[in-house]
């Protein structure tokens, strides 16, 4: 996978989140959305290039071409349009991809560039004043699809455990959990009985199919939640998995969580294997 980080700032955090939420919307899975994206963390005024509050977002795609296309489209529709928002590179790399490089043409000839401390920025006149964006951001090799499954005796308890894990995992830099609230209820397996589908429901973990398929679930399991993690390095993802599982463990015996598992898809889904026992040592 390829990944990038963009820093979005605005007049206040409220508008930085409006911009970031729009930019990372409909970006849960590369299968259907092209990219997986999410808010990595909040940034204070001292952490942003322009001294305003902001957020860092991470965006991942299967290849550089898709990442570049999606980044430009989302910049144009979500950041350019958002009042007071500005965008800056959040990661350096030898591979730099367009952030505002092509978006500048929206300025219809009134756009101006400014090189400050060796970095090029574009100033595009818009109706609320000026939209400021850095010309490029870095693109790096990244890893997607790290995951673990929470098996619990009820849906409510599975979700409660997942929420607890997500709160702990949000503190880890360089990772995002791209699904709604960080949690997936529709984990998939590779392939399907239908020729046009290359992924379908993970029937082995569907509690309502326990008697009908080769199940992975013991009788008391009534609900399974999955947390998927994308990150810049193997170590980042492994750390977030560790903290997430440890957080679930703090809930104690009455949490309803009976087992933590993971989808390895027969090793068909990529070169990286996150072995939970080793991660938790």
């Amino acid at each position: 996978m390829r990944g990038t980080r963009v820093i979005i700032t605005a007049q206040n955090l409220k508008w930085a989140y409006h911009a970031a939420n729009a930019m990372t919307g409909f970006a849960t899975s590369v299968i259907g959305c092209g990219v997986e994206a999410g808010i990595e963390r909040e940034l204070s005024e001292t952490e942003t290039p322009d001294g305003r509050p902001g957020v860092a977002i991470l965006m991942f795609a299967m290849g550089s071409k898709v990442l570049m296309q999606q980044l430009e489209t989302r910049m144009g529709q979500c950041i350019l349009t958002c009042p007071t928002a500005a965008a800056f590179s959040g990661i350096d790399s030898e591979d730099m991809i367009s952030l505002g490089k092509h978006l500048r043409y929206f300025g219809d000839g009134f756009q101006t560039s400014k090189q400050i401390s060796g970095k090029r920025y574009w100033r595009i006149p818009v109706m609320d004043g000026e939209f400021l964006t850095q010309e490029t951001t870095g693109m790096v090799r990244a890893i997607g699809g790290g995951n673990f499954l929470i098996l619990a005796t009820s849906q409510a308890q599975a979700l409660q455990a997942a929420e607890t894990a997500i709160e702990a995992m949000k503190k880890v830099p360089n990772v995002i959990m791209p699904f709604p609230g960080g949690v997936v209820r529709s984990g998939s397996k590779v392939g399907s009985k239908y020729k046009t589908m290359f992924a379908s429901t993970n029937d082995a973990f569907c509690p309502t199919l326990k008697g009908l398929t080769k199940t992975e679930l013991s009788p008391e399991i009534e609900s399974v939640m999955e947390i998927v993690i994308d990150g810049l390095t193997f170590e980042d993802i492994a750390l977030s998995i560790k903290l997430g599982i440890e957080a679930i463990c703090t809930l104690g015996d009455n949490s309803g969580v009976k087992r933590i598992s993971a989808g390895n898809y027969g090793g068909k889904l990529g070169p990286h294997l996150f072995k939970l026992h080793e991660i938790l040592k």
């Binding site: 009134f110 400014k114 100033r123 000026e130």
Partner: protein, 220 residues
């Protein structure tokens, strides 16, 4: 390595063309070679006491308004002028930073393409004339016809100038890029390192040459 420093030995009666004394032209030269460089009819050694060795950082001391073309076609590094500079300071500047801690003459940044020129004192006529891009700041007063035939680029001022007809008032604004620009000034030995206000009156032009340059009057 300390900055390569040119200390003027005596007051000059005639202007001296200093265009040979830029980081890109002096790189790799020894002090002896630098002393032998001809500036018009005289050699460097006749005019300046030369010390230091870092050609990427050049300092002019005891400088006067007779020193013209300082930083002409400079393409890297920095020049600091501790006193006054003459005409055509930073003309045709390609890249790098020039700081004049005194006053500068006419045509500051004439046809500059990129880079930064800051003048802590006053500047003469035709500041930013034929400017292609880059940034110029003048903390003191400026003369007439500033931004004449300016195509792009930014001229920062702190005092209201007299503008010619083809520079137009675009109103008063908060410009976000100034936060980045002023943050980059913090490390410079110029009075501009204290500027923080992002509120400016913006003048656009020079419309006589289809320019999208700007003159920003910093408001406090």
């Amino acid at each position: 390595m300390s900055a390569l420093t040119f200390t003027l030995k005596a007051n000059l009666s005639q202007p001296v063309d200093c265009r040979a004394l830029t980081p890109n032209l002096l790189a790799g030269l020894s002090i002896a070679q630098i002393n032998a460089i001809k500036l018009g009819t005289q050699k460097v050694t006749d005019l300046f006491e030369v010390s230091g060795s870092d050609t990427e950082q050049i300092v002019f001391k005891n400088s006067t308004a007779k020193l013209d073309y300082i930083g002409f076609k400079m393409s890297r590094g920095s020049i600091i002028i501790t006193d006054d500079a003459g005409n055509f300071l930073g003309a045709h500047l390609q890249k790098g930073t020039i700081i004049c801690q005194g006053n500068a003459g006419d045509r500051v940044g004439d046809q500059m393409r990129r880079g930064l020129i800051l003048v802590d004192g006053n500047a003469g006529d035709y500041v930013a004339s034929r400017m292609i891009a880059g940034t110029i700041g003048v903390y003191g007063k400026v003369g007439s016809y500033i931004g004449f035939n300016m195509k792009r680029g930014t001229l920062l001022l702190t005092q209201k100038p007299t503008l010619h007809a083809t520079i137009q008032d675009c109103g008063t604004h908060n410009l976000p890029f100034l936060a980045l620009l002023f943050a980059s000034f913090k490390q410079l030995t110029s009075v501009f390192n204290q500027v923080e206000s992002q509120r400016v009156q913006r003048f656009g032009g020079d419309l006589a040459c289809g320019g999208v340059g700007e003159i920003l009057l910093i408001l406090t």
